[in-house]
């Protein structure tokens, strides 16, 4: 699966020069992947990436090295993504369909398969959009990206037990969302 937590980065802040240009060089892909995991849509990813590094530039003096750089960046990504979802709620509702339309290049063997993949992606996006960001992040990293819980815990700066509990809650929310979508489709609802 595309995107590991340490894409283009060592994952630690040790030995990394503390200037925003260097941090961008080392962690830009990590930030990009994290924003993608947190539900920032493709057309907005570049802007949100820039937003994260504006915050990094402004708040770099507060980074004391007591945690991993990835953990610090993940916290910034969480706040930027939360603000993004608050501001872009209506746009997100509109862009789900656009996102569905934009699914090009997906490996498929036939038009029917292609359509099935598009529909599945759209449904997954709707279910994930129904979760809060922390649960969504844990679920995506564990179930989709295949990261171990220990690594997720270090990245988020929380105990591994918290990751387990969030994963449990996220799975429950996922099942409820899946059931809701099935009910809507069964009752002829559009969504």
């Amino acid at each position: 699966m595309a995107g590991t937590p340490t894409d283009g980065a060592s994952g630690t802040g040790e030995g990394c020069p503390l200037d925003v240009v260097s941090i961008h060089g080392a962690y830009a892909r990590f930030v990009w992947t994290t924003l993608d995991r947190l539900g920032v849509r493709e057309p907005d990813l570049e802007d949100m990436l820039q937003e994260v590094f504006v915050v990094v530039h402004r708040r770099l003096h507060t980074y004391d090295g007591s945690c991993r750089m990835t953990t610090w960046l993940f916290g910034i990504c969480m706040r930027v993504a939360a603000a993004y979802h608050r501001k872009a709620y209506r746009r997100r509702e509109r862009t789900v369909d656009e996102w569905e339309e934009s699914l090009e290049g997906v490996a498929s063997t036939s038009p029917e398969d292609d359509m099935a993949v598009r529909q599945a992606s759209a449904r997954l996006a709707k279910i994930l959009d129904g979760m809060d960001l922390e649960k969504r992040a844990v679920f995506v990293m564990f179930e989709i990206d295949g990261l171990p819980c220990q690594e997720i815990a270090e990245m988020m700066g929380v105990p591994v037990g918290t990751v387990y509990s969030r994963l449990h809650a996220a799975r429950k929310a996922f099942i409820e969302g899946l059931k809701r979508l099935d009910d809507d489709r069964r009752h002829g609802g559009k969504r």
Binding site: M1, A2, G3, D19, V20, V21, H24, G25, A28, R29, W32, T33, D36, R37, E42, L45, E46, L49, Q50, F53, V54, H57, L103, V106, A116, V117, A120, S121, R123, L124, I127, V140, F142, E143, I144, D145, G146, P148, C149, Q150, V160, G161, Y164, L167, R171, F174, I175, L178, D182
Partner: protein, 242 residues
Amino acid sequence: MSDPVRWLESPDAPAGAKDLLRAARRVPMSPTVEARSAARVAELVTATTAAASKSVWWKWFAAAGSIGVASAWLVVTVIPRMHPERRAPLVAAVASSSESASNVHRSHDDSVVSFSSTGDGTANAVMVRPPPPMRTIARTIEHAPSDRSRNTDRGRQRQALLEEARRALYQSNDPRRALELARQHARQFPHDLEEEREYITVRALAGLGRSTEARSRGEAFLERYPHGIYVGPMRRFLSTLP
């Protein structure tokens, strides 16, 4: 505690969940986007640095301006008050400091006193008194009236009148004119420089030949200003009257 089994690998995954998870798609970051983002970040740093240096430059400019304004204020306001003799010329009084009739000139605040001989016209000595203590200066500034310029003009005028009277008496040898100016001064500034004015008046009266009146006013002067600066000269002058 070990991680739970992933749904994609578990036979117990909810129905339909595996299909959705397999359809998940990550958006890769293209090198073009990465380069563009890096350029923006570099611009951000440059702009911030430029803004910071501009801010520092403005701080220095403001500090220099403040110092300049403060210096100008000191030069225009405070220093003239501390050294009024630099603006106001010596005004003075005239007195016989010896039997050869030396003149005594002093400024209106007694900070400078000069003695010169009337015989050959050369100055013999200049005594500069120390300036008043800073506390006095501060109090003077603190209680300075707002219409400072008007008071300055008034002070110059009262000094000029007595200066003119003194010139009329000693340089032009015109005691009538000196008396007239002294009386004008008394009308305009009845409570200012009274001792100096009265001394000129006595000398002018004597110059007009009104010796009795001059003596009478001179003796009244000695009673009124027993510790004044003109007591000695006045006594010596009265002793020369017929």
